[in-house]
């Protein structure tokens, strides 16, 4: 590994890139949704409405930071911090280019699973601390949804681990030099994508928030930058899942030689972010019982079968 780059630069660069991507995604998502829904979207502030990001963040900064008197103060403040911190820490394991990774070590994938489990706490604690009926309903839904999809999110990743024989994401990328894992692990990819949508509670699985029935779900009582933290956390979650799909199933930085590896990684990740937005624009929200039953009764057995078949084929080779 050529680790000629100062690790401090990598850490700073990853944090800077992720936070700016999350902010930029707000603009990208609004423009793309507008495109797919045949309307303009934000187009007033600056060229193509790009400065809307700046305007939004200034607005959020100068909003009143209100902690309701009926809320549980400490937990109420902690919940939005958890979601941002855990997602930011998950980015340590993702290799952006050869040698450009914050922490190159042998349990990378387990670390991601651990941090994504911690993410469930932010919803649960945020909704519970709000002491609001809508928030509690959203929190309960969110917690049950996230733990349901977590079971087979791990299982779907094990197919990749079987093929590469490592939890290290750099090794997993290098194992794909002969062919991306999307071909042998198509079912695993599908399960991981659905589980990733549910874990980040993005539309169509935004049942913890579902505006049409729960106002804003678990963050009904949140305002100002604390709401902004949940918001940014969601976009960073989308970026994280896209980056992981790229790394695990689409060969990470691997690509034709005429462009640098980091370009391929970023281009693939961006393509998956766009897929997430397209899914939001095109799919209706399922009912809650449908979501949970689909997870337990269909995706969990499918993930087990996928793992066993992958193992059996691997053994015969």
């Amino acid at each position: 590994m050529e680790t000629a780059i100062n690790p401090w630069w990598i850490i700073g660069g990853v944090l800077f890139a992720v936070l700016n991507t999350a902010a930029g995604l707000i603009w990208v998502e609004r423009r793309m949704l507008a495109l797919w829904q045949d309307r303009y979207g934000p187009n007033r502030a600056g060229p193509f409405g790009l400065l809307i990001v700046l305007a939004d963040s200034i607005k959020m900064f100068f909003k009143e930071d209100w902690i309701p008197p009926f809320a549980d103060r400490l937990v109420f403040v902690f919940a939005p911090a958890i979601v941002v911190a855990t997602v930011l820490m998950s980015f340590t394991i993702i290799p952006v280019a050869p040698g450009v990774v914050v922490a190159d070590f042998n349990i990378g994938l387990l670390l991601f699973l651990a941090f994504s489990s911690l993410g469930a706490y932010s919803i649960m604690l945020g909704g519970w601390a709000s002491n609001n009926k809508y928030a509690l309903l959203g929190a309960m839904r969110g917690a049950a949804q996230m733990i349901t999809y977590e079971v087979f999110m791990g299982l779907s990743l094990m197919g990749v681990v079987l093929l590469s024989g490592s939890f290290n994401l750099t090794d997993i990328v290098l194992a794909q030099q002969d062919g991306w894992f999307i071909v042998p692990q198509f079912i695993g990819f599908f399960i991981f994508l659905v589980a990733g949508l549910a874990e980040t509670h993005r539309l169509p699985f935004d049942i913890p928030e579902s505006e049409s029935e729960l106002v804003a779900g678990f963050h009904t009582e949140y305002s100002g930058m604390k709401f902004g933290m949940f918001f940014i956390g969601e976009y960073m979650g989308v970026t994280l899942i896209s980056a992981l799909v790229t790394t695990l199933y689409f060969g990470g930085w691997l690509g034709p030689d005429f462009l640098p590896p980091i370009f391929w990684f970023l281009a693939k990740t961006f393509a998956f972010i766009c897929l997430f937005i397209l899914l939001r624009a095109s799919l209706p929200r399922p009912r809650y019982d449908q979501l949970v039953e689909y997870g337990w009764k269909f995706l969990l057995p499918l993930a087990l079968v996928n793992l066993l078949v992958t193992g059996a084929i691997r053994l015969m080779q």
């Binding site: 209100w66 008197p69 939005p80 387990l110 509690l136 087979f152 791990g154 290290n168 193992g311």
Partner: protein
Amino acid sequence: MLLQSSASSYLPILIQGIMALAFVGITMVITHLVGPKRRTIDKLTPFESGISSVGNARSPFSIKYFLVAILFVLFDVEVIFMYPWAVNFRELGGKGMIEMFVFMGMLLLGFFYVIRKGALDWEK
């Protein structure tokens, strides 16, 4: 290929964690300081679409959510046993595969029991 991980390889994660928490903390403190403070009577009650709030929000809740949580604990613990098997798949070979088949069979047995019992049928 197994890289040896020592305590020092967790250092970058620790640093990134500290920086992430610092970012969150500083942003929240700044917004707390620069934002206006206006106490109005409407902000003192939980928002429930304009209908005045009745009772405590933390009231008894549907048992189904608890059931899902219990099932999650059971299944996640069993699924975790597959992680070391997956990463050591090549060393364990055919014997490990058969053992994993047996293990998964038992897991599925419990799974079918749960389904037949109707534990996952939300509507009942």
